[in-house]
């Protein structure tokens, strides 16, 4: 169930749709891919209606499903070569196989490939036709760190070559690494959109921590700080300042410390990660 979800995607950019399980990520992607017909509202992909203009849209779009999509008895290279043969100007299949480390699975039938190999084959099938736009539904689910890195590199390369990429993920670090824009989806609605930096800056406040002698006059520190900031002694001798942490704020804190003869030990600036933002927005409780 997806409701009032608005996404717009710039050409040649990477867009991540982030959300907990069941938030409507796959439903949204599949509506864009033309698998589902929206009950209401409109979807335009590359200026076309994915349902009504499916025949014109399909050659321009690459699709990686969340799982499956390959004949269980087809060999890896055979399936990729076949997918390439459905397109007018495919990329070089052997080079792509090499590129994704699929060389060893060329002769192996799909059902005997490991989960990671199956994922990479599906990714290769999505990009082999030189599409303008690629949909990747959880492209790194179940991949080991190396394969995950290889997938990230490929997404970066697609972007550099001017291909637009829309991917779903529930890995925050993935969205942070790859995406130009992130849409956080929950219960079928976009609850936050922006670049990873904007989201980190906007949603949650950053903080600055330091240690000093216990019992410093926090109220005095607070008067030196901009109005929206807070300062607390979390534990004896451990202090936290929250607010919009700018170089100016850092200078204010250190000069206050200097005035009070305090050496701010273990001084650190903590920027909120997308994960913090995500948990803040979608709630920390686990959901089914």
């Amino acid at each position: 169930m997806v409701d009032g979800l608005t996404l717009s995607v710039a050409h040649g950019s990477v867009t991540a749709v982030l959300g907990p399980n069941g938030a409507g990520k796959t439903t949204t992607i599949e509506t864009c891919e033309g698998y589902r017909r929206p009950d209401a509202g409109s979807v335009r992909v590359l200026g076309l209606d994915p349902w009504a203009d499916a025949a014109r849209l399909r050659p321009r779009v690459g699709v990686m499903l969340q799982s499956g999509g390959v004949y269980p008895g087809a060999r890896g290279a055979e399936m990729l070569r076949h997918t390439a043969s459905l397109h007018a100007h495919p990329v070089d299949v052997d080079a792509l196989i090499e590129r994704l480390g699929l060389g060893s699975c060329g002769r192996t039938v799909y059902r005997r490939l490991s989960g990671g190999q199956q994922q990479r084959l599906a990714l290769a099938m999505a990009v082999v036709g030189r599409p303008e736009l690629v949909f990747l539904d959880e492209p790194t689910a179940g991949l080991d760190p190396q394969a995950r890195r290889a997938t990230w590199d490929l997404v970066g390369e697609l972007r550099a070559d001017g291909v637009s990429v829309i991917l779903t993920t529930h890995h925050m670090d993935e969205a942070e690494q790859l995406a130009d824009r992130v849409h956080i989806v929950e219960a079928g609605k976009v609850i936050a959109s922006g670049s990873p930096e904007e989201l980190c800056r906007g949603g949650a406040e950053n903080s600055l921590r330091f240690s000093g002698r216990p019992g410093l006059d926090v109220a005095s520190l607070l008067t030196a700080l901009p109005a929206e900031c807070t300062a607390v002694e979390l534990a004896p001798g451990s202090y936290r300042v929250t607010g919009n942490v700018t170089p100016q704020l850092l200078a204010t804190v250190t000069s206050w410390c200097a005035q009070h003869g305090v050496l701010p030990d273990r001084l650190s600036v903590e920027r909120h990660t997308l994960e913090d933002v995500f948990l803040e927005l979608t709630g920390k409780e686990l959901r089914a």
Partner: protein, 267 residues
């Protein structure tokens, strides 16, 4: 601007490897590629080969050489060869196609192909081509075996071809109806069961005249009975055009393909 970025930041694989250049391959090439892939997959599958090659060949050889079933007057092979040809069409167009398509649906193959430039009707055309190519191979093999066993066929080859094509259409419709509506495991079990039942009750190796009158009349309406009966009329008895059998097959083809067209679910 975009091209510049591609040229300067490309890490490996040459600049602009993935620079968009979308487009569908020519339709004929897509269908040929799809048909070739499906035929290869079918001929590489051990269980399928057992069903479509080994079983019909064994039945033909065994029952022609050993007098197990009373096949009426004349040489047993003249009765059996048309029946086994009908069985071959049944095994490929119905059983094999139903099972393969059922699992393709289950594993998202049909869904993924739905996002490719190959239109759905192109996919179905390719499937039909793969079935027909397989049938040609089966018929060539079974004809050679039957001739070696002393078969002397009669009749007009064009009429035989028409019967085989209508039979293929009827079985394909029913097979796809099953594959597109039932779960893959259910299709697997049901398609094999139907194959076995039709093998004995469809006039393939046991003459329908062995069944009680009322049952026989009903069995005559089965597509495999119409196909083996029609083929026997032409190939053994030299009949010109077995209209009633053609009519039964055409009716099944319209029903099966019509229902499959309406009810087939791709996911």
């Amino acid at each position: 601007m975009r091209a510049e970025t591609a040229e300067t930041t490309e890490p490996d694989g040459g600049p602009g490897t993935f620079a968009p250049r979308p487009g569908a391959a020519p339709l004929g090439r897509m269908i040929r590629a799809q048909a070739a892939l499906e035929t290869r997959l079918l001929l590489r599958n051990g269980e399928q080969l057992l069903l479509i090659i080994v079983i019909p060949t064994l039945l033909l050889t065994l029952f022609s050489s050993v007098d197990v079933v009373d096949t009426g007057d004349g040489d047993a092979v003249d009765f059996l060869a048309p029946g086994v040809l009908a069985l071959a069409v049944l095994s490929t167009a119905f059983t094999g196609q139903a099972i393969a398509t059922g699992f393709e649906r289950r594993y998202g193959v049909l869904k993924r192909l739905g996002a490719s430039p190959l239109p759905r009707w192109g996919l179905m055309t390719a499937k039909t081509c793969a079935v027909l190519v397989t049938e040609v191979l089966q018929i060539a093999l079974l004809t050679a075996v039957a001739l070696a066993l002393g078969w002397s066929p009669h009749g007009n080859p064009a009429t035989v071809a028409l019967l085989l094509l209508l039979g293929t259409a009827a079985f394909s419709g029913l097979g796809l109806l099953m594959a597109g509506t039932l779960k893959a495991e259910v299709t697997l079990a049901a398609a094999n069961l139907v194959f076995l039942l039709l093998l004995f009750g469809g006039g393939v190796i046991v003459p329908l005249s062995k069944f009680p009158g009322g049952v026989e009349a009903v069995l005559h309406l089965l597509p495999v009975a119409a196909l083996s009966d029609g083929l026997r009329d032409v190939l053994r008895d030299g009949a010109r055009v077995p209209w009633s059998d053609l009519g039964v097959l055409a009716a099944w083809a319209v029903l099966g393909l019509g229902a499959a067209g309406r009810l087939f679910r791709w996911e």
